[in-house]
């Protein structure tokens, strides 16, 4: 069972207001991240304030090195913040250990990467199923079938990653990311390694996921066309959000 500290960053509503109040699924305040390279401190995030509601499809755009990926890694619990508040689905990262963040990631987050990041020794089927295995709830054949059919990869399940095209690999990666029904899907340049046709297929699928399952999606991209499919575009520069 996933147990973690829950904090409320926003002021608590009165009883009368409570039924109308919607708790944001992601909330950051003054989020900072500093990497230390040798003796030099390199700030990656310089105070990010972000509120995301459940079911939103957000694109984060900005030049290289502006802190987009760092923001994604922190929101996914892959690394901790240096300062500021991060609350994701009621979990305050300041109060969570590495092990807590790992459990959080297992149950609440799905990642899609630019380089697909499939395990090369496993078939497409096993690459998807391993996420269920790690989550510990066992193999769910119904969910597996629904997801693979929706992504159009039923015929490719016995193939290893090297035998799949880039688009197919990314669809397998999306299937792996959503197979455990995560609260948030974090996509880091999901179309960065794909041609235009495959990029469109992947973007359509992300859009479909968002519409059909109200899947919250935070997508990093350099591609303005890709950002165009999102409901909301956040622009970052020098570790800060410059427009929302």
């Amino acid at each position: 069972m996933f147990i973690s500290p829950v904090i409320h960053l926003a002021p608590q509503p009165d009883e009368g207001e409570r039924k109308d109040h919607v708790e944001p699924i992601i909330c950051t305040k003054g989020l900072k991240k500093i990497y230390r390279l040798g003796k030099v401190d390199v700030p990656a995030l310089r105070g990010v304030d972000l509120v995301v509601q459940e079911g939103e499809f957000i694109a984060v755009v900005g030049p290289s090195g502006c802190g987009k990926s760092t923001l994604l890694h922190i929101l996914g619990g892959l690394t901790g913040p240096s300062d500021g508040q991060v609350c994701v689905d009621g979990n305050d990262f300041r109060l969570m250990s590495d092990a807590d963040r790992t459990r959080f990631r297992r149950h609440k987050i799905g990642f899609v990467f630019q380089r697909f990041n499939l395990l090369p020794t496993l078939s497409a089927r096993d690459n998807i199923a391993i996420a269920q295995d790690i989550q510990g709830n066992g193999f769910n054949p119904h969910r597996f079938e629904t997801v693979t059919r929706m992504l159009g990869i039923e015929e490719k399940l016995n193939h290893r990653p090297y035998a799949l095209s880039g688009g197919e690999q990314q669809r397998v990666a999306i299937a792996r990311a959503i197979i455990c029904e995560p609260k948030i899907l974090l996509a880091d340049e999901p179309t960065g390694n794909l041609d235009t046709e495959n990029s469109q297929v992947v973007l359509d699928m992300l859009r479909e996921l968002n519409r059909t399952f109200r899947q919250t999606i935070l997508m990093i991209t350099h591609n303005p066309d890709a950002a165009g499919v999102a409901d909301r575009i956040i622009r970052m520069r020098d570790g800060r959000i410059i427009s929302d």
């Binding site: 890694h73 996914g76 892959l78 690394t79 092990a99 790992t102 459990r103 959080f104 990631r105 297992r106 149950h107 987050i109 990642f111 990467f113 990041n117 499939l118 395990l119 090369p120 020794t121 496993l122 096993d126 199923a129 391993i130 996420a131 269920q132 295995d133 790690i134 989550q135 193999f139 792996r176």
Partner: protein, 367 residues
Amino acid sequence: MINKLIISNILHRPIRTAVSILAVAIEVGMVILVVGLCHGLVNESAKRIEGVGADILVQPPGASFLMGLTQAPMPVKIGDRLAELPHVLAVAPVLFVVNSVAGLNVIYGIDMDSFDRVTGGFVYHGVGGPLQAPYDILVDDVYAKANNTKVGQTLKLVDHEFHVAGVVEHGKGARLFIPRPTAEDLQGVQDKASIFYVKCTDPAYTEKTAEAIQTLLPNNTIRPIKEYMALMTSNNLPFLNAFISVMIGIAVGIGFLVIFLAMYTTITERTREIGILKSLGASKAYIIVAILGEAALLAAVGIVAGIAGSMITRKAVLALYPTISVDLTWDWRLYAACLALMGSLLGSFYPALRAAQLDPVDALAYE
């Protein structure tokens, strides 16, 4: 699923897998064979002494129970005094001659009559018969097979030529027998014996007779054959124990280092994959189990290969060197398997721990 991951990783890197399995197999095979050779040597030697058929061994004061190491022969006339004791049926004096040319052999210098009375006589293979001339020699069938020795042939041992008078059934103390006076000439002694084999009229009188011999020869080493057989284990041979321990240490060290190196390089090679698992929420325990599971599977296959290899090697050794005995026991196979498994798990533990502690962001960025 974790089992699939382990198996697929092992199959994905066939050379690394083959080398790791081979290292574990060598480790296991080496432990089993070294112990088997040592035990075989001791057991076979003990069985041959038992096969003489004597009830009591009489040796010089402070003599080792290892035959051939006795450097202080006793006067042969002691045998006459022993023969006069009650319940003594026969006494056979034997003088040892150690031949180190073309292998190490203890040659028994015997008196045919007394030796036959204790042993019940040799069983001869084919033509040939007892020792008659001073430089006659009897060889046992195992020695004859190993050296392709035939009756009538000349054997050069301890710088002398011997005429093979007969080939006898193995198991009567030594593999080579010459007349005791000839052995005395070779040793430069007269009327001496290295050991007396004493046979009682009834084995039930063994202890009583041994006590009587001890009273008669208070400084000599008197051992009933049962006591001797109990002593003839590798545990009672300190140098053999040390040798076995050193060889086991080397074997386990090889296995440990190879598995350590294989798993360490694997972790470096698979840093990105570990990052992927971490991004999926895999716990440290999950990653440690995956790495240790891989090492355990490599060890298990290596153990099976090592046990099979030791059996094949034993057959080959026995075919090439029939005088060597290799005793492979299941308890040592189990012990070798446990050592290999423990060595492999220990060897992979640090790489597993290192993998579990990798930073997921760094691991995902690893090229």
